[in-house]
């Protein structure tokens, strides 16, 4: 039954988030953009109790289920977790994307643990996001200087020291979002992808949970970026960093089972994170579109939606095009999460969504700067910041090109060999 209804509970959470976006995020947007490596403490401290309580409820439920408790109250029907996530991400990104990315909690590292971790690992690593007065952060490290989109050629190694039963990590990871917040500024962790057998290609790649303050892990100062400047982006260097054997994701002490999800586990996290990135892109697009329309309306320029196309002004046509692309991006986001809600795969939809939304927001924000003329180009208003922030969505969680490749393989039924 085709239905676009968003549950009221989620709508209400979106409204609360809108208040945070307007009252906490927006007032600090410009200041934080111009003071690149300062933390958005107002936002982090405001969000931590919210995130913590939500995580606690989720975790307790999961554990109760694992222990066979509350068995009579089996939840039926679709899962709204992912829907809530994209709705809130969209609204926070409308507020300020750089600040949103500093949201406390497990982040991509949490996604990875949820996707590839055993029940014991989930309890061990996720509990910190559900308790404590100080915020805790998770991060994920895949990208390397010579392994970007081609992340199967990563060089970071993980070698087992059989005497101590520890993994020894060596290598370098770059562009790590929340790397410093997770490993230096809180009691968080970073999920690091490394190869246990450099000759085995993808098959040799496993993921390892590296705890904050692990000796041998160096966290660089923040990298200087075009946009999302408030977001914490660092280089992580591993020199003989030792971590316990059981920190390999998917390893189970009880079942003596080795990690088997490996590279595929990493890729599975993208099925959820790509729509989230798309939702973030949509949030920026909406922010830019709304501001552009408001400023144009002050000049008496408003779109007449009843005029035929050949009678529209160039500005009206541009706005219509921006609105259409914005809507397309958002509807493709809903289309990408809907299968997840009903327990179905969404690899194709997630990549279509991410590829479309990343490019749409890039174009929409560039057009917004153009339409607002000299004012749009100044740092007096946030439009130029939206344009700089927007571009990252065409790049992270798989560039547009990588996502097009995934889409193309899927629609053609091709393997990696057939379509390189």
């Amino acid at each position: 039954m085709i239905d676009f209804t968003i549950p009221e509970k989620i709508e209400n959470q979106v409204k609360m988030t809108e208040m945070v976006a307007k009252q906490v995020m927006r007032p600090k947007s410009r200041y934080l953009d111009e003071h690149e490596h300062e933390r958005p403490d107002d936002f982090i401290n405001m969000m931590w109790p919210v995130v913590r309580e939500q995580n606690k409820a989720t975790l307790d439920r999961a554990i109760a289920r694992a222990n066979g408790e509350g068995g009579t109250k089996v939840k039926t029907g679709p899962s709204t977790t992912i829907l809530r996530l994209i709705m809130l991400v969209e609204m926070m990104s409308w507020g300020d994307t750089g600040q949103y990315l500093c949201i406390p909690g497990g982040g991509l590292g949490g996604f990875a643990v949820e996707a590839a971790g055993t029940p014991e690992q989930k309890e061990k690593f996720m509990r910190r996001f559900a308790e404590g007065d100080a915020p805790s952060f998770g991060a994920m490290a895949i990208t390397e200087p010579d392994a970007g989109s081609d992340n199967s050629s990563m060089r970071t190694t993980s070698v087992l020291d059989e005497e101590t039963n520890e993994w020894i990590l060596n290598g370098e990871k770059i562009f790590i979002t929340n790397g410093s917040l997770s490993l230096k500024e809180s009691d968080g962790f970073c999920v690091v992808w490394a190869t246990v057998d450099p000759n085995a290609g993808r098959k040799g790649i496993k993921s390892f949970v590296v705890e904050a303050d692990t000796p041998g892990v160096d966290v660089s100062p923040g990298m200087d970026k075009l946009g999302i400047r408030t977001s914490d982006t660092v280089v992580l260097s591993f020199s003989d960093a030792r971590i316990p054997y059981e920190n390999m994701l998917g390893y189970s002490k009880v079942e003596k089972k080795k990690a088997d999800k490996g590279f595929k586990g990493a890729m599975a996290t993208f099925d959820a994170s790509r729509p989230a990135v798309a939702a973030s892109a949509v949030g920026i697009a909406r922010a830019a579109l709304e501001m552009t329309k408001e400023l144009l309306a002050e000049e008496g320029i408003e779109v007449d939606y009843t005029k035929p196309k050949h009678q529209l002004t160039a500005v009206e046509r541009d706005i219509m095009e921006m609105e259409a692309q914005y809507k397309m991006a958002w509807l493709l986001t809903l289309r990408a999460v809907e299968p997840m809600m009903y327990g179905k795969g969404n690899r194709l939809e997630a990549s279509q969504n991410k590829a479309y939304a990343g490019t749409a927001v890039t174009k929409i924000t560039q057009k917004a700067v153009e339409l607002l003329g000299p004012l749009g180009y100044t740092r007096d208003i946030l439009i130029e910041k939206f344009m700089r922030d927007a571009k990252i969505n065409d790049i992270y969680e798989g560039t547009r090109q990588i996502n097009l490749l995934i889409v193309a393989r899927s629609i053609l039924g091709y393997s990696r060999r057939e379509l390189k």
Partner: protein, 363 residues
């Protein structure tokens, strides 16, 4: 709750139309285009699916529940088969739907039973006008009240099956507003002109009509004295056209995907090349996203929302989308795309028409 799965009835309906499209429409559509004539058996088969009766409520002799979403699903599948045949199967809708959503009770009782017959009724509608500045909300054809009659003057084009129509629902400008009037065939001053010579849709007979001091009783105005909310009618038409455009775009896209996998150059399928594969990927995003625009507008309409702005944005996007995708599909086929032995050039021609097809389809 958010859900994009078809329900059981929608699934059965679209499956049946898929069969009609592949087993009947696709078998005849090229010859129909070349000969400018659609085999009556195919039109009958389409009409007999009963799309309209299942959309008309019981109180007016139908046996269904009206859903714009369901109609949009049906139209995409039909148009995937062939656009001209779709328009020929559905052209009575251009009267039935406006009557259903905007007619007075008397008009509903008078007209709707006609559409429940097993035989396709000969009624059509005339909205489009043959000039560059055509604007459905600012028509040049005028209707002026003169006592208890309206006097209509103007010209119309792309009127489907006008030659055989017994009644034409003519849209005209009454004091700045677009209203609709039932004009019976044979009314003095009404002349059916030459058959349109269009770039595409050649299998569908459409004509120009002229109205010179055509006098009709005032009660022939759709919606009675109050008239109609024309935006509502136009939204119904544009959602139908949006769904049809998605069907046409999808026809080209799917054909291009299959062709690219089979066409061998430099010892391997051209789909192995990113320049082709990425084009196909972008087409898929255009088609799948555009369908969501249609569904959302249709769903909102079913929920009684005013979708004028949604529909304007949808139309803005989809008119370009169907052209872009059809163009890319043709490009994937290279020289074969330009040859009439292959279907893509036909879809390419039909695609451009969506910018001007207002009122040609109605759901």
């Amino acid at each position: 709750m958010l859900n994009f799965q078809l329900d059981e009835e929608q699934q059965m309906l679209t499956d049946a139309i898929k069969r009609l499209a592949s087993e009947r429409m696709r078998k005849v559509f090229r010859d129909a285009e070349e000969e400018e004539k659609i085999p009556q058996a195919v039109i009958d088969a389409g009409w007999e699916m009963g799309l309209l009766p299942t959309a008309v409520p019981e109180e007016f002799g139908g046996f269904g529940e009206y859903s714009v979403v369901t109609q949009a699903l049906a139209v995409e599948e039909l148009a995937f088969g062939d656009l001209a045949i779709t328009a020929n199967i559905l052209y009575p809708n251009n009267v039935a739907i406006p009557v259903m959503v905007a007619g007075t009770d008397a008009q509903k009782e008078a007209h709707l039973p006609l559409f429940m017959e097993p035989k396709q009724p000969n009624v059509t509608a005339a909205l489009t006008e043959p000039h560059i500045q055509y604007d459905p909300r600012g028509l040049k054809t005028t209707a002026v009240l003169d006592g208890d009659h309206y006097v209509i003057n103007g010209s119309k084009s792309v009127v489907p099956l006008a030659e055989t129509a017994e009644t034409i629902l003519v849209y005209a400008n009454e004091e700045g507003k677009t209203q609709a009037f039932f004009v019976p065939a044979g009314t003095e001053g009404l002349t059916v002109g030459d058959k349109d010579k269009l770039m595409g849709l050649r299998a569908l007979p459409t004509n120009q009509i002229k109205l010179e001091n055509v006098r009709i009783p005032a009660e022939n105005k759709l919606g009675g004295d109050a008239g109609i909310d024309f935006n509502l009618i136009l939204n119904h038409s544009r959602i139908a056209l949006g769904a049809a455009a998605v069907g046409v775009a999808r026809a080209g896209y799917e054909y291009a995907v299959e062709y690219a996998k089979q066409r061998i150059q430099f010892d391997e399928p051209i789909a192995h090349r990113q320049s082709i594969a990425f084009m196909l990927a972008e087409m898929s995003m255009d088609v799948d996203g555009a369908r969501m625009l249609v569904w959302e507008a249709a769903w909102k309409m079913d929920n009684g929302e005013d979708v004028t702005q949604d529909v304007a944005i949808m139309k803005h996007f989809i008119d370009d989308m169907v052209m872009r995708v059809s163009d890319q599909a043709l490009q994937v086929l290279g020289g074969y795309g330009y040859i009439r032995e292959y279907p893509v050039e036909l879809w390419f021609r039909n695609a451009r028409g969506f910018a001007t097809f207002d009122g040609l389809l109605m759901i």
